[in-house]
Symmetry: C2
Subunit: 405 residues, 2 copies
C-alpha cells in the first residue's frame, strides 16, 4: 500500500520521544511505499485543526538532532476525542491521503489510536495505525518497559544520590529530606530512585509507592527507626501516594474561609510529609520536587533509552509497511546479563486505558523499599553506571584532649 505517513506525539514530554520521531522519519524515508511524511502539531489536536507540517522539508541535521533534543518537537496535547471528532479525523486523513498513522503516547493515546483504527476498518478506509509506547510512568501493559522510563530513572538516581550526599554532609542541621517524584497511578519512577543507593547506609533510605496504602503511623515509625540508626533520613515518595481509604495523601483541600485560608491545599505529598515529620518527630525536614524537570532532562538521559526509543520508531514504520495495524510496538527483554532487548507488537486494545502497576515481587516485604528483583529489572535501563565519585577513607587523627562538655 502506498500513501502518506502522519506522526503525532501525545501526553507528557520525555527526554527520548523525539528519538522515536527521528526513528520514524528515518525509516519512512527508506520505504518506497511512503510518499509524504507529515507531522501533526500538538498531537491529535493538530489533526483536528489540520495543522500539519511536512517533515521531508526538514534538514537532515535537524532530524538527527532530534535524538539529542528533549520534550516533544511536534508539540503534544492531552485531549480526549469526542465521538463527533473521530469523523473529522477521518476527513483530514482522507483529504491528505494518510495511509499510515503513527501515534506516540501513553494508554490514553493508545485508546485514541485504537478507535481511529476501528473506525477506518468500519469505513473501509485503508489505514495502518501503529502506536509507539511513550511514558516516563512506565505503566503500559505488555511491553517490558516504556521509552522515557530509563531516562527519568537515570535522572532521579543521580539526583537522589546527590541529594543524599547533600544530606550526609549537612545532617547536623538538615536531618531529613523528602524527594517527591512523578507517578500518578504507579510507582515505577519512585522505585527507580533505589538505584541511587551505593552503600548500606546511603540514600534513599525509604521508598513509598502508591501500590501500597500509606499508613501514617508506620511511616513515622520507619523514619524514626532510620534516624535512630544513622542520624539522617532521605525518603523518596510518589506523587500518587494514597491512604487506606484510597484518597491521595496531601493536606486537606477543604476550605473554610477563602480570604484567610484559601490557600490551605498548597503543595503535594512531599510537602505534606515534610510537615508531618517536623510536627511529629521534631526533625528539620525539607522537600525537593524536581517536577517536570525530571522527565525532560537530556543531560541525564539513558543511552539505552535513547536507542530503544529510536528503534521503536523504526519498528512502527516497518511493521505498518508490512501490513500490520491496530498495534503498539513493544520492548521484549531477551536477556538481562548481558542486557538484550528486541521489539515486538501487541494489539492496541490490550494496552488502551490500562495501567500496569509495580508488581508485588518488585516491592520490599516491609512496603518501604523495593526488592532486589526490581533492581535487576531496572538497572540495565539506565544505560550504564552512575558517575563515579571519590570516597575519602577519613583516617582519624588521635584525640589529645578530654571530650567537650
Amino acid at each position: 500500500m502506498t500513501g502518506n505517513l502522519l506522526i503525532a506525539q501525545s501526553g507528557g514530554p520525555t527526554a527520548v520521544i523525539n528519538s522515536s520521531v527521528c526513528g520514524t522519519i528515518v525509516e519512512a524515508k527508506r520505504r518506497a511505499q511512503i510518499r509524504s511524511i507529515y507531522g501533526a502539531i500538538n498531537g491529535i489536536l493538530g489533526v483536528l485543526d489540520e495543522n500539519l507540517i511536512d517533515l521531508r522539508q526538514e534538514a537532515p541535521e535537524a532530524v538527527s538532532g532530534l535524538r539529542g533534543t528533549p520534550s516533544a518537537a511536534l508539540g503534544s496535547c492531552r485531549f480526549k476525542l469526542k465521538q463527533e471528532d473521530y469523523s473529522r479525523v477521518m476527513d483530514v486523513f482522507q483529504a491528505h491521503q494518510i495511509s499510515y498513522f503513527v501515534y506516540a503516547g501513553g494508554n490514553d493515546s493508545m485508546d485514541t489510536a485504537h478507535k481511529i483504527a476501528s473506525l477506518a476498518t468500519e469505513k473501509n478506509y485503508e489505514l495502518k495505525v501503529m502506536g509507539i509506547p511513550k511514558t516516563v510512568d512506565n505503566d503500559l501493559m505488555v511491553t517490558d518497559h516504556c521509552p522515557g522510563y530509563g531516562s527519568v530513572s537515570r535522572f532521579n538516581a543521580i539526583a537522589v544520590r546527590d541529594a543524599g550526599l547533600d544530606t550526609d554532609a549537612i545532617y547536623t542541621s538538615d536531618t531529613v529530606k523528602v524527594v517527591e517524584t512523578m507517578g500518578r497511578d504507579a510507582g515505577w519512577i519512585t522505585a527507580s530512585t533505589a538505584l541511587a543507593r551505593d552503600g548500606v547506609d546511603s540514600a534513599p533510605h525509604l521508598i513509598y509507592l502508591p501500590e501500597r496504602p500509606f499508613v501514617t503511623s508506620k511511616f513515622l515509625a520507619d523514619v524514626k527507626s532510620v534516624y535512630d540508626r544513622i542520624g539522617r533520613v532521605v525518603i523518596c515518595v510518589c506523587e500518587g501516594l494514597k491512604d487506606e481509604k484510597g484518597e491521595f495523601v496531601k493536606a486537606s483541600s477543604t476550605k473554610v474561609d477563602t480570604d484567610r485560608f484559601g490557600h490551605a491545599q498548597l503543595g503535594g505529598v512531599g510537602d505534606y510529609l515534610t510537615n508531618l515529620i517536623s510536627e511529629n518527630l521534631g526533625f528539620k525536614a525539607r522537600c525537593d520536587k524536581p517536577g517536570t524537570i525530571q522527565r525532560v532532562s537530556m543531560t541525564c538521559a539513558s543511552q539505552t533509552d535513547l536507542n530503544e526509543a529510536y528503534e521503536v520508531g523504526q519498528t512502527a514504520v516497518s511493521r505498518a509497511v508490512e501490513g500490520e495495524s491496530d498495534k503498539m510496538v513493544t520492548l521484549v527483554r531477551k536477556s538481562n546479563e548481558p542486557y538484550k532487548c528486541e521489539t515486538g507488537v501487541v494489539e492496541l486494545e490490550k494496552v488502551a486505558l490500562k495501567t500496569r502497576k509495580v508488581p508485588d515481587e518488585f516491592i520490599h516485604a516491609d512496603s518501604n523499599f523495593v526488592s532486589d528483583a526490581f533492581l535487576r529489572y531496572v538497572k540495565p535501563l539506565i544505560g550504564g553506571p552512575l558517575p563515579e565519585y571519590a570516597h575519602l577513607k577519613r583516617k582519624p587523627v588521635e584525640r589529645l584532649l578530654p571530650a567537650r562538655r
Copy 2:
C-alpha cells in the same frame, strides 16, 4: 612559619566545594612549611569535638577525585559558636599545632573565621586564617562571584530551558509553570535562569527577585500579559521573595484548627504562586522545585566554576604561607571577552555577616526580569554554551478542508 594545616567546610554543600579542598590539599603538599594536613569533620563542629582526619593518608586518586565529587566530602554544618566555644577551638588548635586554618563557607563562616583569627592574635597564638568563598547564593561582598554559583546557574539554566520546552509542547493543557529556585536573601540564583532563554518567546518569561517587593496585582497582570501574547508562561521565582511589608510570600501560617487545618502552611512561594494563578486567572499551573538537587548537581557543573574553586583553594594556602591572615580569597574579574579572572584577598571583616544583593543595574526596569548587563555578568560563569538542541522549521502542509467548527 612551619606547622600543621587544618581545613573545614561549612554551610550548604555545592558542586565545587570539594574542588576547593582538593586545591588546598594539592597546594599544601607542595609547601615545605606545612607538615600535617588535617580535615575537620562537619566544619567547626569537628574542631570542637576534636574530630579530625589526616588528609595526607588519602590516596592521590581520592584527592583528585574530589574535583568530580559534589556535596562536602569533609561534612558540613550550620553552627554558630558561642563565646565559650572559641577557647575550646584554640585548645584544639594548640593541641594539634595548627598554624594554618582554612575555612570554606559563606558569610557566617567568614565571621567565625574572623573571630578565631582575632582571638589567636589576642592570645599571641601564631595562626594564619584564610577563608575560601563558597556559596551557591553568590551573596558574598567584594568577590566578583562565589564558587558554586556558576554551577547552580548552569543547572538552573538547563533545567529551566528543558522545563520551558516541556511547557511549549504541552501548553494546550499545562499552561503555566512556576520554577522555584534557592536564594533566601538575594536573587542571584533566580536571576541566572535568564540564561535559559534562547529565543524571544522562550522560557523563562518572567523572573521575580527578592530585591524587589512582590506585588500580587502586578504579578497577575504580568502573567496575564504573557499568556495573552503567547498562550503559555514559565515563571522563575526566588524562595526568598518578600511582599511590601517585608514578609515572605507564602501561604498564611496561621492555624485555626490543628486537626483539620494543621497543615495549612505547606509549600513555599512556588506552590503559593501556582495556586494564586489558578485561582485568579483560571490557568492550569504547576510548580517545579529542584531544591537541594540544584546545588549539588555535578552533571551540570560549570568547568569554569570547578577550576576557580580549585584555584581559590590553592590561593588560600599560598597566601597563608606567605604570611597573610584574617582574609578571604576573592575572585577578581579582569576582562569579560575573553573572560579572565584572577584571585585576590579581602579582610574577613569586610565580608563577615554581610549580604550582597543583586544591584539595581542587573534588574529589568519592570522588576520582572533581569537586565542585559546581568546576562553579560553571568554568562562566562557557566563554563560554555548550553547543549545544542534541534529546531524544526515546521513547514506547514496546505490546508484542504474548511476549519473545524
